[in-house]
Every structure is written in structure tokens, then in C-alpha cells.
């Protein structure tokens, strides 16, 4: 023990102030607990600082830039459009600042104490926080671990000023002329698409046979088409071997379908996945057991092998998504407050902010069949929707997967403009056990994209209005 170290007793300690941790803290405080949150870096976590928010800001700016370059078709001529990337980054920074200071304000409003420093367990109910040369100890009734994840570094690609993680790419000071992206998962695709929109020539190297391998093939087709139109080249079955830094760039070597190729670029970005931040937490001292791949094993309330300790977000199994972290945070906060909440992932949506967007919730057709359902599906194209046409964004379709016997909505997948907002209705449908008939009976306003949901439901029922069989 450090001399002068002081132990404070609290109801609940939350480690990590990302979307998992800060939401858990607020919910626990709402339920009457005295909460402290320990954060070693930035309140808001990956999501607000180097994840969801800054990446979507770049995507948004890039989208505007493209829109301006293509506004001729809207009857608008914009001349000499150019990007001041320094200002783009400044704007992005302002949004991040506004949101993170918003979270800090919420901590204050809920009487949550925010402590800066790195936390580690020293006992089954004590954490120590190191900040600089000082440290303090907190003895808790309950602890919620929400330490999130970090980008995976692969052999041969040590992070540098030219070998970037997503974090590095989001902080770029210039628009690269050429960029090699290793990993065509959602983070790789989103950032590739944004930078390509700004004019970067992007090469994606993906190890598996397709980009976005987690999604159905047909959903990816419109995204692939758009990437191609933006000048992005995609190499699948490509294994990155190594990188050599040159005077002002990189040279990446990869084995593409068995043949060795090199790709020269200004930068290489490696987005091959993330690993949970569970190594240096002293979990053994807390009696918290780790499962596979460094993930913490938890029950349906988020409880670990230590009854007093819960874990949420990217450090537990399942999709590494912000809203999943927040959801688990709420459940854990309720559980330690004596409310019998449990997680239910049936209605957990996933979104890719590609161009066009992809969004899904519930089961895909393949998953539903695998689970033994006899399914009935229905699809409806954006091109047959008046709103999509008037927006000038008619690529894509919406697909509903339902149980054949009674029309219960099992899931939905969307690729198209505003898919990220449209999926919410299906979240409600899956969550509350709606049938396709309910969706068809829901009056959708005209002309809105929401009508696509209704028409797809009508397709399942066999009587769509705006497409003929």
C-alpha cells in the first residue's frame, strides 16, 4: 500500500466512461446509488472520442462533399468545391467536445463523482486508481467493468505515423492521395467510403471471400457498386504480409489469391478487429474469470464470477456496438439495484454507415432457417418508393423475415438511404412480437421511406400494391 493511501466506501464503482460505463452510471444514480466513475483517458470512451461519433462526422462531411459535386442532377451548380480538411477536423472536434462535455454535465446533474485515472482491482471488493504519482482506493458494494476494447495490431504492421489504426485514421491531418486498408469489416468500409468520398484512392485488402462478411451477400451488392463508383478497389482473399515505410509513404505486401502483390500508398490503415481491454485490470485479484479471447464471462444480468462485479460492453461476448454496451449498462445498473432485468438480444440492431447504409435486426433468413423456423420473406425495392426517388437515392431494398405459420416478424435487413433510422420500426416489431400483418396495417405516411416497410410486409402477405408479382 502506498503511504497515505485513503480508502473511500461507495455503493457502485464503474470502470470506464464509454457508452457502456456512462449509461450504467447514470442509470444506477437514477436508482438511488452513490456512484463513482473511473476513466483513464476521455469521458465518452471509444464511441464518442475515436469511434462512432468522429467516424460518422467524417462520413457526414464526405457525403456533403459528394452531394455538392453531384448536385447538377438536382438543378444546382456548385463551382470550385473543395475540402479544407483542417476545418473538417476542427468541426469534428467541436462535436466530440460538445458531446463529451454533455456527458460530464450529466454526471454532475446525477451527483456522480468522476475520477480520472487508471483503475485496477486489488481485492474482490476494492479497486485502486492510479493517477500520476498518486493513488486512491475505493471499496465498493458493486462494480461494473466497462473498459472497452482497442484496435488489434497484427504482426508486421506496428503502429506508426504511416501505419494507422482507426484512431490514427480519424486524426489524419490531410486527405491521403492513396490509402491501403487492411480489413473490410464495417469500420474499414465506413472509413474507406468516407475518405474515398473526399477523393482518396483506396485499396481494400480483405482476407475472407467478401467484404462485410457478417452480412448477407445481396445486402452488400449496392455497397460494392457504390464503392466501385467511388474508385475503391477491393481485393478479397488477400492476406497482408508486411509493410515497408518509404520516404513519404508505405509499401504493403500482400498475398492475393495466392500471388504476392505490393501496394504503394501514403498510409496503410489496419482495421482487422478489436480486442477487449481486460489484461491489466487485476481481474485475478478480484476473482473475475476470463473466457475465450480475453472476454469476461457473464450471466444474463452481466454478473461475473464475482457476485459483486459486473461487466458490460466490448469486454463481454456479442457484437461490439455502442448501443449494446449502453443496453447492458442499463441492465447491470438495474440488476445491482435489485431489479430483475435480464438481457435479451433478439432485438439488437446492427448498422453499417456505408453508402448506402446497411441495417439489420433480429434474424436473417439463413439464421432463422438454421434455428429451425419455417420462414416466409418479403422484399421491396427503394426504387419503387416515391420518397426515395425524390431524394435521388433509390438504390437498395428492405427484406422482412417472418415465421411462416403466423407471420411473426423474426428479423429485417435493409440496405438503402436512411436504413439506420428505418430499422428502429423493426426493432419495435421484433421486441414486441409484431406480425407482418401488424406492419401492413400500420398506416405509413406518404411519401416517406417508411412505406417501404409496409409494402415489404404486404409482399410477405402476398398482396403488395406497388409491385406486381
Amino acid at each position: 500500500m502506498v503511504v497515505g493511501e485513503f480508502t473511500t466506501e461507495v455503493d457502485t464503482v464503474v470502470i470506464g466512461a464509454g457508452p457502456g460505463g456512462y449509461v450504467a452510471a447514470i442509470r444506477a444514480a437514477q436508482l438511488g446509488q452513490k456512484v463513482i466513475v473511473i476513466e483513464k483517458q476521455h469521458v465518452g470512451g471509444v464511441c464518442l472520442n475515436v469511434g462512432c461519433i468522429p467516424s460518422k462526422a467524417l462520413i457526414s462531411a464526405s457525403h456533403r462533399f459528394e452531394q455538392m459535386n453531384h448536385s447538377e442532377s438536382m438543378g444546382i451548380s456548385a463551382e470550385n468545391v473543395h475540402v479544407d480538411f483542417h476545418k473538417v477536423q476542427e468541426w469534428k472536434g467541436q462535436i466530440v467536445d460538445r458531446l463529451t462535455s454533455g456527458v460530464k454535465g450529466l454526471f454532475k446533474a446525477h451527483n456522480i463523482e468522476s475520477v480520472e485515472g487508471e483503475a485496477l482491482f486489488v481485492d474482490s471488493d476494492v479497486v485502486r486508481v492510479n493517477h500520476g504519482y498518486e493513488s486512491s482506493r475505493y471499496k465498493f458494494n458493486h462494480c461494473i467493468i466497462a473498459t472497452g476494447s482497442s484496435p488489434i495490431e497484427i504482426p508486421g504492421f506496428k503502429w506508426s505515423s504511416r501505419v494507422l489504426s482507426s484512431t490514427g485514421a480519424l486524426a489524419l491531418k490531410e486527405i491521403p492521395k492513396k490509402l491501403v486498408v487492411i480489413g473490410g469489416g464495417y469500420i474499414g468500409i465506413e472509413l474507406s467510403s468516407a475518405l474515398a468520398g473526399f477523393g482518396t484512392e483506396v485499396v481494400i485488402l480483405e482476407g475472407s471471400p467478401s467484404i462485410l462478411p457478417a452480412f448477407e451477400k445481396r445486402l452488400i451488392a449496392p455497397v460494392k457498386k457504390k464503392l466501385k463508383a467511388k474508385g475503391v478497389s477491393v481485393f478479397t482473399k488477400a492476406l497482408a504480409k508486411g509493410v515497408e515505410e518509404t520516404a513519404n509513404g508505405v509499401s504493403v505486401t500482400a498475398e492475393v489469391k495466392g500471388k504476392t502483390q505490393t501496394f504503394d500508398a501514403d498510409y496503410v490503415m489496419v482495421t482487422v478487429g478489436r480486442r477487449p481491454n481486460t489484461k491489466d485490470l487485476g481481474l485475478d485479484l478480484a476473482g473475475v474469470e476470463l473466457g475465450e479471447r480475453g472476454l469476461i464471462h457473464v450471466d444474463k444480468q452481466g454478473k461475473t464470477s464475482n457476485d459483486k462485479v459486473y461487466a458490460i460492453g466490448d469486454i463481454v461476448s456479442g457484437m461490439a456496438l455502442a448501443h449494446k454496451a449502453s443496453y447492458e449498462g442499463k441492465i447491470a445498473a438495474e440488476a445491482i439495484s435489485g431489479i430483475a432485468s435480464e438481457v435479451d438480444y433478439r432485438a439488437m440492431p446492427a448498422v453499417v454507415f456505408s453508402d448506402p447504409e446497411i441495417a439489420s435486426v433480429g434474424l436473417s433468413e439463413e439464421e432463422a432457417v438454421k434455428e429451425g423456423y419455417e420462414v416466409k420473406t418479403g422484399q421491396f425495392p427503394f426504387a419503387a418508393n416515391g420518397r426515395a426517388l425524390s431524394l435521388g437515392e433509390s438504390d437498395g431494398f428492405l427484406k422482412i423475415v417472418s415465421r411462416a405459420s403466423d407471420g411473426l416478424v423474426l428479423g429485417a435487413q435493409i440496405v438503402g438511404v436512411s436504413a439506420s433510422d428505418m430499422i428502429a420500426e423493426f426493432g419495435l416489431a421484433v421486441e414486441s412480437g409484431m406480425t407482418v400483418e401488424d406492419l401492413a396495417l400500420t398506416i405509413h405516411a406518404h411519401p416517406t421511406l417508411g412505406e417501404i416497410a409496409m409494402e415489404a410486409a404486404d409482399v410477405v402477405l402476398g398482396h403488395p400494391i406497388h409491385i406486381a408479382k
Partner: protein, 472 residues
């Protein structure tokens, strides 16, 4: 010539053509009588063309604000003829699509003006339809087991203020404008009036709205009216409420000028054009209603909950029945009428389940009761969350607005949802599904909204109604 059908639709607008498709799916031998173009007001003079123009206006104003994002542009200019061409191309594409659907459904299209006949040699009961053709050839007579009247509506004009199509316009003529007027007075600040105001202001017109009531969009929740007015004001749109127009004061010289009585004083407004958007009139005067026992109220046809008129084999749907004059109401009433004719179980349309969208900037979308309406019969709780608290709105670069969820304090039923802000019209679909389910705020808050999306605001406002907001 006499032709026989199971069902004849008088009018091929949104209500009529959708009903025809449903009828053909159910195996009915169906015909549509349409005097102009399939698709009606909505496709040719309403929803679709205005939304196409509004989209160009939106992109134009976004481009002008792009420095905020760090995107610079030397010069932006409108090519209004291109904007009109794009609008027309979209209308044509959809029009073509509907015609294909009619062919595939084997629905007969009769291009003429139809009127109901009374009992005649063709049929002992009223409801045969006589179709008059523009080229003067002999009328066709259609007899049918059932008829659905779907003749829609047209712009209402003001006594003493003649629409000349050049200076004084309705939305019909405004859609054909070949250039952006430098200034315009819009008479009537309802849905159509505010959409035009928003669009023309974005295109650079100097806009003045004269509204009779004490606020614009008076049928919507008060906070929506006030917020839109605030936003309009910032954009330089002048609004004069509680204004009683004096049509006889119209003068056409270089400019038009017209006066209104405001707070007991007379004020005069001048502009290049005047747009009259004071509501719509049902097209029921000349369709032979007198030959039947069908009843009307101020020209609107009276029906029961299934759309049946006093002549129970004749139905009426859409704008001619009054109520909410919206395309999706017309199409749903059309489907319901056909299903009722076919003997299928039908649940009558409930106005609280009908979403209402206004495509101004920012957009408005609402469903169910306003707060004032709700307070009449309920003890209410209200959750209101600004878009500024939603990360995606900031990222999108447009965070003006809010979501408001109104619920009954004791039963917890959601009574109304009001959205004002970016993509409001995309977000209302979930709200409509929630109304169908009679969901509670708690159920809405249990929906996992993906992050970062605008839809998070609905979950957050639902939490706020229960006093459990996370981000507030």
C-alpha cells in the same frame, strides 16, 4: 356502349388506383374512370412534385451552409429549369409505374369524365356511370355491382381573389413556375402554405405568410407551430398571424399589393406573386350525386366507418370524405372499402393512428393527439428531448428540433408523438407502429435504437415521459 364490372372507381388518384389494385388482387373485374392522369393530385400536383422541389431546395441550402463542415465552394447557382425537369422526370417515372401496375392487374382504364346515373334502363338502382369523353364521342355506360367514388379535391379559392395563374396562383400553378419569384405573399399558413414558404425561401424568394388563425399550422401541436415560426423568422420569412385578408384590395401594377386586417389595423403587403393555399374543395358538384340518395355535408360525402354512402353499394374514399386530406388516408380507405366489398374483415381507420408529415425545413411529423387535445380528456405526462442531445443530429450538421412524447399518466398509453427536426418523416414509421400496438412509453424505451442514429430521440423522449431520461 355498355360495359359491366364488379367494381368501378370514379377517379384514379391515390385512393382510386390503390383500391383498384387491391380489387384486382381479390379477383374483382375492375375499371377506373379518370379524366386526367392516373395518380391524381398526389402524383401530379401534390405530394411527389412538391417533395421533389423541396429536395432541391434542401440540397441548395445545405450547400450554402457547407463551410460549417469545412467544405468551400466558390459559387452556387440554381438552374431552375433543371430543377423542374428533375421533378417532372420523377413524376413521369412513377406515372409510368402505375400504368404498368394497371396493365398487370388487368384493370380497365377509361379516360373520361364520369357521372353517376340514377335508376335507368341499364340498372334498376342508381350507380351506373356515364363517361363523357373529351373528343366528343358517344358516352360510355358502365354498370357495376359496386362503385367507389374517389374524385379528390382541388384548391379552394377566396371569394374576390381570382386565380389568374400568372400573378395569383394556387399550388397547381405554383408547381409550373418557370423561375423563382423574387417575392411572394402566401395566403394561408397550413401544411401546403408552409411547405411552399420553406421551399421558396430556400430558393431565395422573399416570403410573407398571411394566416387567419393565431399561429401557422394551427391544427398541429402548439410547440410545433411556435418552433417552426421561430425557424422561419430566422430564415427571413415574414409571418403575419390573425390576419384577415381583404381580397378586394388586390392591385396589380408593377407589383401586386393586397391588404389584410391585422389587430384592427389595415396593413398592405406587396409582392411579385400571391399563392393562395387556404384549403381544398371536394370534387363532388358535377358527379351526379343528385341522381342518388347520397348525402353530403359542405360538399363532403357522408359515409359510415367502412366508406359506405347512403347507397350502400356506393362507397366514397379520400379527400371527398373530408377528415384528414392525406394520400395515405385515401389509399387506406380505398383498401378498406375494397376489402369490405369483398366480405373481408375490416377494422375502420382510426384518425389517431394516421401520421402527418410536413416537409418544411426542419421537417415535422406527428401522430395522435396534440398536447392541448390530450389534456381535454387525460391527465398527461410529457417527455420532450432536443435533437441537440442526439449525437447523430450534431454529426448530420442539423440539430434544430425536438421529439415530444405525450402519454396518459394513469393508463400509460402513448397519446401523441410529435417530431420536429432532421428526418422527422423517416422516424414517424416507428411511432405509427407504436400507436398500432397501443404502446406505452416504457415499451418504446425498451426498443434498442442503434447508435448513433436519429431514431435514438424516440427512445429518449419516451424515457423522458417516464422521468428516466439518460441523456437529459
Amino acid at each position: 356502349m355498355v360495359k359491366n364490372y364488379d367494381l368501378v372507381l370514379l377517379g384514379g388518384g391515390t385512393g382510386g388506383y390503390v383500391a383498384a389494385i387491391r380489387a384486382s388482387q381479390l379477383g374483382l373485374k375492375t375499371a377506373i374512370v379518370e379524366k386526367d392522369s392516373l395518380g391524381g393530385t398526389c402524383l401530379h400536383k401534390g405530394c411527389i412534385p412538391t417533395k421533389a422541389l423541396l429536395r432541391s431546395a434542401e440540397v441548395f441550402s445545405e450547400i450554402k451552409k457547407s463551410q460549417d463542415f469545412g467544405i468551400e465552394v466558390a459559387q452556387v447557382a440554381l438552374r431552375f429549369n433543371k430543377i423542374q425537369e428533375r421533378k417532372q422526370a420523377i413524376v413521369n417515372q412513377l406515372h409510368h409505374g402505375i400504368q404498368q401496375l394497371m396493365k398487370k392487374g388487368k384493370i380497365d382504364m377509361i379516360n373520361g369524365f364520369g357521372r353517376l346515373l340514377g335508376p335507368s334502363i341499364f340498372s334498376p338502382i342508381p350507380g351506373s356511370i356515364s363517361v363523357e369523353f373529351a373528343d366528343g364521342r358517344e358516352n360510355e355506360i358502365l354498370t357495376s355491382k359496386n362503385v367507389i367514388l374517389a374524385t379528390g379535391s382541388r384548391p379552394r379559392s377566396l371569394n374576390g381573389l381570382a386565380v389568374d395563374g400568372e400573378h395569383v396562383l394556387t399550388s397547381d400553378e405554383a408547381l409550373q413556375l418557370q423561375e423563382v419569384p423574387a417575392s411572394i405573399v402566401i395566403v394561408g399558413g397550413g401544411v401546403i402554405g408552409v411547405e411552399w414558404a420553406s421551399m421558396l425561401a430556400d430558393f431565395g424568394s422573399k416570403v410573407t405568410i398571411l394566416e387567419y388563425s393565431d399561429r401557422i399550422i394551427p391544427s398541429e401541436d402548439r410547440t410545433l407551430s411556435l418552433s417552426l415560426a421561430r425557424s422561419f423568422k430566422k430564415r427571413g420569412i415574414q409571418m403575419v398571424t390573425s390576419a384577415k385578408l381583404l381580397p378586394e384590395t388586390l392591385q396589380k401594377e408593377n407589383q401586386l399589393s393586397i391588404s389584410a386586417e391585422v389587430d384592427g389595423r389595415t396593413e398592405t403587403f406587396s409582392a411579385e406573386k400571391i399563392l393562395v393555399s387556404v384549403g381544398r374543395m371536394p370534387n363532388t358538384e358535377d358527379i351526379g350525386l343528385a341522381n342518388t340518395s347520397i348525402e353530403t355535408d359542405h360538399g363532403y360525402i357522408k359515409t359510415n366507418a367502412f366508406g359506405q354512402t347512403k347507397e350502400t353499394h356506393i362507397y366514397a374514399i379520400g379527400d371527398i370524405t373530408g377528415g384528414l386530406q392525406l394520400a395515405h388516408v385515401a389509399s387506406h380507405e380505398g383498401i378498406h372499402a375494397v376489402e369490405h366489398i369483398a366480405g373481408l374483415p375490416v377494422e375502420p381507420l382510426q384518425p389517431e393512428r394516421v401520421p402527418r408529415c410536413i416537409y418544411t425545413h426542419p421537417e415535422i411529423a406527428s401522430i395522435g393527439l396534440t398536447e392541448a387535445q390530450a389534456k381535454k380528456d387525460h391527465l398527461v405526462k410529457v417527455g420532450k428531448v432536443p435533437f441537440g442531445a442526439i449525437g447523430k443530429a450534431l454529426v448530420y450538421g442539423d440539430s434544430e428540433g425536438f421529439a415530444k412524447v405525450i402519454a396518459d399518466k394513469s393508463t400509460n398509453d402513448v397519446l401523441g408523438i410529435h417530431l420536429y427536426g432532421p428526418h422527422a418523416t423517416d422516424l414517424i414509421g416507428e411511432a405509427a407502429a407504436a400507436k398500432l400496438l397501443d404502446a406505452t412509453p416504457w415499451e418504446l424505451s425498451e426498443v434498442i435504437h442503434p447508435h448513433p442514429t436519429l431514431s435514438e430521440i424516440i427512445g429518449e423522449a419516451a424515457l423522458a415521459a417516464d422521468g428516466r431520461a439518460i441523456h437529459l
